[in-house]
Amino acid sequence: MSDFSPLRDIPILIGAFFVLTAAIGLVRFPDLYTRLHASSKLVTLGSAGIFLGAALELTDAAAFTRLAAVLLFHFLTTPLTAYLIAQAAYLRGLPPLLGGGGRRGIDEWGALGQAEQVAQADRDAQRAMTAEGE
C-alpha cells in the first residue's frame, strides 16, 4: 500500500464492491424481476465509480472525455435495458414472484403474457392520437 492515493482508489474500490454485490445479487435473488433491481442500480453506480476513479487517475484530456462519455452513456442505458428486459419478459408471460396482500399478490397491471393484445392496443391508441392531432 505504498502508492495509495485516496482520490483515485476510493471510487474504484467502492465501484468494484458494488459490481461484486451486483453479481452476488444476480446469482442469489429468486426471480428475473428482483435480479433486474440488482443489475440496474448496482451496476450503474459500480461502473460509474470505476470510471470516475480511472478518469481521476489518467490526468489526460483524451482519456477524460472518453471516460465521461462512457459514464454518461452507461447512466442512461443500463436502467433502460433493465426496463426493456422486464417489459419483454412480463409481456411474454414470465410470472413474477409476488408477495404482500392477498393470496395471489399485488399485480395491478394484469397483462401477463399478453404481448399481442398490448401491442394491438398500443397501435390503436397511437392511431387515435394522430387522428386527434389532425
Binding site: I24, G25, P30, Y33, K41, T44, Y83, L98, I106, E108
Partner: protein
Amino acid sequence: MNGLTLNLLLAVVWMLLAGEVSARELLIGFLLGFGVLTLFPRALGTGGYVRRSLATLGFVGFFLRELTVANVQVALFALRPHPPLNPMLVAVPLRLRGDSAQTLLVVLVNLSPGTVALGFSPDRRTLYAHAIGTPDAQAARASIIRIEDHLLRCMAPHPPRPEVSP
C-alpha cells in the same frame, strides 16, 4: 429572450471584458450572469429560467442521495441471508407527458430505491412498476410520484399542483 441564451451571452461578454479567453473566465461569467438574472427577473423576463435551474440543481442533489440509498439497500438485500423482498406490481397515474420526458422518468425510476419500471398503458398515462422492499403498494407509488414531482418542477414553466398527495 430565452434565459439560457441570455446567460451564455452574459458569460461571453464577461470573458471578453476580462480580456482572457479561457474556460475559467467563462465559468465566472456564467455564474455572475446567473446572479444578474436572479436579481432582475421582472425586467429580463427570466423568472421561469431561474426557477427551473434552481429546481434542476436541487433535483441533482436529491437524485444522488436517492441513488446512494438505492444501492446500499439492494447491496444489503444481496448480502443478507433472508432478504425481506416483498415484491409487487403497482400502477402509478402519470402527469408527465411526452416520450423523452417519460423515458427520462423510466431511467430515474430504475435508479431510485426499490422500483423498476415495467411498462406503460396504451394511452401513456399510467406507469406500471415492479417494487421490492416497500411495506405496501402506497409507499411504492409515493416514491415514484416524488421523482415525477421533481421532474415536473424542472421542466414545466410553472409548477403544477400535485393531484395525488404522496
